[in-house]
Amino acid sequence: MLTDSKPVPKNIKLAGGNDALTVKWSDGHSSAYPYRYLRDKCPCATCGGAGLPKQAASPFPMFGAKPLKPERAELVGRYAVQIHWNDGHSSGIYSFDYLRQICPCPECAVRREDASTIERA
């Protein structure tokens, strides 16, 4: 047992379509993270998992807010990916374990729900 056997990404696509980042995992699972969801789950110390403050409705709707999206990303060591957002935020280092944990697919959501039910019981 040189490394643990948790799944790791094989491929990470910043522009995975439908305004989402997609990850293909070593165990065959696929995850799609909508940009807004991913940013709300930013693990950095400043965001503290609380995400962005709800934006006030713009008084100038004709100028519209720039849609949030990641501009680029870098691998961090062997364990994480750092995302640079188009609003300048870049301090979130998403570890692979964390990314897998927050996978929004229905299957994983059910698993999370079960786990929290057990915790409450």
């Binding site: 040189l2 990470i12 060591g77």
Partner: protein, 355 residues
């Protein structure tokens, strides 16, 4: 020699020869090269993944016997080495360094630096290109352990590392007067780690060993984030207290997905130089037990020995002389480490693609 023997026959025979660490035969692993079958002679090159491979002679002998069993009388095997490198992500900071190994511990004072310096020397003696990076900026000790009076030079904006016993070295000790101390917070430490990696002209290296400060702090995190480390070696003394803290270092590397290459038991036992009586001052075998329990390779034990201390203080690592028991101990650990690096590189998943 029977004339009907073909290259195919030879390869089939060689498929019976296994690499004991990788659990694959030497043909599948691509170790057999330049196979020539002429009238009375079979010759080939065996290219292993490390010059420090612990079973190289044994594998050559088994291969020779396998070919001779076909009825060939004359077998020539040339042994060469091509140090393997993982298929994992490459670092743009040190693109020509094949393997990066962190030498770490939970507690201080267990002999990390002594082990790191001696492993570097042992791997270099075996024929590898080796570097030694002293990332303990608070208590740098590599220049003392390795001796030599050479200083780093700055050439064309990059640091040219001093060389001792064929090992390239860098340390904070080169940049500060002896009596000065480094009193820094995290961001400065991070910057230093980055500079030691990217601004030092390491050139091509098979192994870059990194002597870490004790614990699970800024330096360890910076290093693990800055480059995809090949793996970490954990140094511990045998007593429970040190092992309990060592498991915290292991937990950190596992979180950061840095493979644990194995555990070294330092100050394993003491042999009295005058009467030869052996005393297990810190207990004995604790690290071996712990590695068995946790499922990590045990790389070997180094005795608590006054010769090691004297030679370390004099800047002459005992691993320079393999005829002494102390030197032999370090060479055995280096060989076990080289084998584990081959295993990790062999197992590593292919590069993560990021688009």
């Amino acid at each position: 020699m029977p004339s009907r023997i073909t290259a195919e026959d030879i390869l089939n025979a060689l498929r019976a020869v296994q690499d004991p660490d990788l659990d694959r035969d030497i043909v599948t692993l691509g170790f057999v090269k330049d196979l020539e079958v002429s009238n009375h002679l079979v010759s080939f090159t065996m290219e292993l993944g490390s010059p420090a491979c612990p079973v190289k002679e044994q594998m050559v002998e088994t291969a020779k016997q396998a070919v001779k069993a076909l009825g060939v009388s004359d077998v020539h095997v040339k042994l060469t080495f091509q140090v393997s490198s993982g298929r994992g992500p490459k670092s743009s900071l040190i693109p020509d360094v094949k393997n990066t190994i962190a030498v770490a511990s939970g507690k201080g004072g267990v002999g990390k630096s002594t082990v790191a310096a001696n492993l570097a020397v042992a791997l270099q003696r075996a024929g590898a290109k080796v570097g030694l990076m002293d990332t303990d900026v608070y208590g740098p000790s590599v220049p003392v352990l390795m001796g030599g009076s050479e200083q780093p030079k700055v050439v064309e904006g990059k640091i040219e590392p001093p060389v001792a016993y064929g090992v390239k070295m860098i340390s904070m000790a080169y940049f500060l007067p002896k009596e000065e101390a480094v009193i820094w917070r995290g961001p400065m430490l991070h910057k230093t780690v980055q500079q030691f990696l990217g601004d030092v002209r390491w050139r091509e290296l098979d192994y870059l060993l990194m002597d870490l400060p004790p614990g699970t702090g800024d330096i360890q995190l910076s290093l693990s984030q800055s480059i995809p480390l090949t793996g970490a070696v954990i140094v511990s003394t045998p007593q429970d207290l040190a092992l309990t803290v060592a498991s915290k270092a292991i937990a950190m590397f596992q979180k950061l997905k840095v493979p644990i290459l194995g555990i070294v038991e330092n100050m394993s036992y003491y042999v009295c130089p005058s009467c030869g009586h052996r005393d297990d001052i810190f207990g004995h075998g604790g690290a071996r037990e712990a590695s068995n329990k946790l499922g990590f390779p045990f790389l070997g034990e180094i005795p608590l020995d006054v010769e090691i201390r004297i030679n370390s203080d004099a800047g002459k690592p005992v691993a320079l002389d393999s005829s002494t028991p102390q030197g032999r101990a370090f060479q055995d650990v280096a060989a076990a480490l080289a084998a584990q690096i081959c295993v990790v590189n062999f197992q590593t998943e292919e590069t993560i693609s990021l688009e």
